[in-house]
Symmetry: C2
Subunit: 410 residues, 2 copies
Amino acid sequence: MPEQSPLDLADGDPFGPHNLPYGVFTTADEPDRRRLGVRIGNRVLDAGAAAYVLGSPYAVLLARPSLDPLLAAGRTAWRDVRRALTAWLTVPAHRQDVEPLLHPLDSVTLHLPYEVADYVDFYASEHHATNVGRIFRPDGDALTPNWKHLPIGYHGRSGTVVVSGTDVVRPCGQRKAPADAAPVFGPSIKLDIEAEVAFLVGAPSELGRPVALGDFREHVFGLSLLNDWSARDIQAWEYVPLGPFLGKSFATSVSAWVTPLEALDAARSAPPARDFDLLPYLDDSAEEEPGGFDLHITVAVNGHVIAEPPFSTMYWTAAQQLAHMTVNGASLRTGDLYGSGTVSGPEVHQRGSLLELTWNGRDPFELPEGKRTFLEDGDVVTMTAWAPGPDGTRVGLGEVTGRIVPSVVQ
Amino acid sequence: MPEQSPLDLADGDPFGPHNLPYGVFTTADEPDRRRLGVRIGNRVLDAGAAAYVLGSPYAVLLARPSLDPLLAAGRTAWRDVRRALTAWLTVPAHRQDVEPLLHPLDSVTLHLPYEVADYVDFYASEHHATNVGRIFRPDGDALTPNWKHLPIGYHGRSGTVVVSGTDVVRPCGQRKAPADAAPVFGPSIKLDIEAEVAFLVGAPSELGRPVALGDFREHVFGLSLLNDWSARDIQAWEYVPLGPFLGKSFATSVSAWVTPLEALDAARSAPPARDFDLLPYLDDSAEEEPGGFDLHITVAVNGHVIAEPPFSTMYWTAAQQLAHMTVNGASLRTGDLYGSGTVSGPEVHQRGSLLELTWNGRDPFELPEGKRTFLEDGDVVTMTAWAPGPDGTRVGLGEVTGRIVPSVVQ
């Protein structure tokens, strides 16, 4: 929609005024002053400064060092602020005021834009769960009996959620191959990725009050790409009976940009047909809005695409995950973040983890740098994605990238 | 030590000047003004006001609505502040200044004194893990092969950690008995307790830098009693393969009082002999200070004692848990809280959960109100504890109590 923007965007720019993701940035001049920014093309609008210059009542939400006040403000504020931002960036009369408040994207430093409250990770791709089941439990059923009755999830470590671009230190830990007499300690030799989509809770809920499927948009502000780094050797030895712990808790990377749900109205898609009748609190067959999102993810290692996981294939939706997470009365806080679980499609090149892509190391893949089963030190993993936007546009999701650096213990 | 206190404490008061736990309180006059308090006997010192009146440089840490600034200040500050408080409460010359700043315990409202960052729960009692293994996996080994090589733990929901005295709403969720064709939904019919000790992290650590066993006291400020409420029917259906989630996340109660580690120097005790050589980062055989704590816990339902779990029998120590939790480079934040796992001793009356006490409901116990297998609506569960203090005294731990209220769905 180039006619809507006075800002010289390229035709079809996936970060046009139909997108407007939020982030937090600093400039080289003022490295300690965090500011809320909105991405437009390859520039970042200083949203708080714009609110002041344009005399907006939303300065109280935008002239802040964090997205948290806007997140907590709730859906009506989210809608009104987005309308204001759209006007500031598209109405030609504002151009003179707005232009000086735009910073080139490559000139700013991006930060984690919110404080993560609780971090939950789900396991919602049938293809992923089936692959993992076949690899780790070859003698049993691939899916556990509960899998199609509830969205399986667990809590992760919110203190080690880091912003895209943060180096990831190869973790150390215990591992034990079946043939080993005792566990050994050292840097992980099966360092992996998980391509996921993370949903960010804005408006909190009360303790004891479940959030219904239909209230998803009252609470969830937006989404981002997430890489749930995983040390498979550490995970395999520790995870029975209480689930993953150190195999995941060393780092989880999220995009610096949060795409508001309102930018993704054209990307809503129906989830796959369900194999069982769902209990009423999870039954989304009568919901007005389809629960899925048609996000097209690309995973690259050192710039080479290794997978293209389709988010539309996820069995459980984000609304179902939210309803499940709160059905026992657990409350939500501003900044709660939950990951979809690894996104894997039915095809080999749609698998969102190296565990699946290489079948736990059995089938290496080729990079110009050499063969890979799991990640080597120096490898850079980058995930990007797009979704259908209004009128044939594309909505870009902010990338999530990270480089593996060697463990301190060798 | 009545001669040390000018405050008319009863002989042998477990909350004498050798204890001095920290909390946060409000008074009926000023219900919105949270203040840091220190318990002495059955009164609470307004610690911030005392610091001002006595011209203390620690007012900056004590005249705050939360324990967080003191927690973050680190071990030297913890020691110095404790020395100052001890002087204020024991030197007769201060009595005139301090006396007006003491509030009767039963006149104040107590609050969660810190913001919980990450909450982790361990599984460190061999007796508990063995009992649970026998109940849930009767055909397999009671302990998983990893159990004696690493302290098994998982992340829980920090947003639903509540202060002692908060009502607990019976959670709803899915359950499925083996004979059921499909899961059913409703209020939990196996609502349980877990008697635990929680360790509170004060000083943070850097991402990528493990915390060694010997640095436990540099990071951990103190401990409290914790009740990890558990819905066994929800948990049993959901927990394979990624661990407990909704069966635990509805509420976790902690004492309103945090006992500083410095009050427990006389309570340190050697953990049980280990059955396997431990990897170096967990090997505490050469540590100067014994890793255990000789805490004597009492669990009561509606005022009737049902169990007396001995914390000194825990296989894994809090220092080992901290070293393990960070060995992969995971960082610590001020307010990280970790539970020991259910405390159960070798004897039947030492078991810290109803699951174990009734062998999953097979062996009910008697209360004057009637038989119990799991908790009924209206039941009040209260845990208390004491530890040996200096010179034959006892150190009391603040109680953790909670009442079950009916589910909103019936």
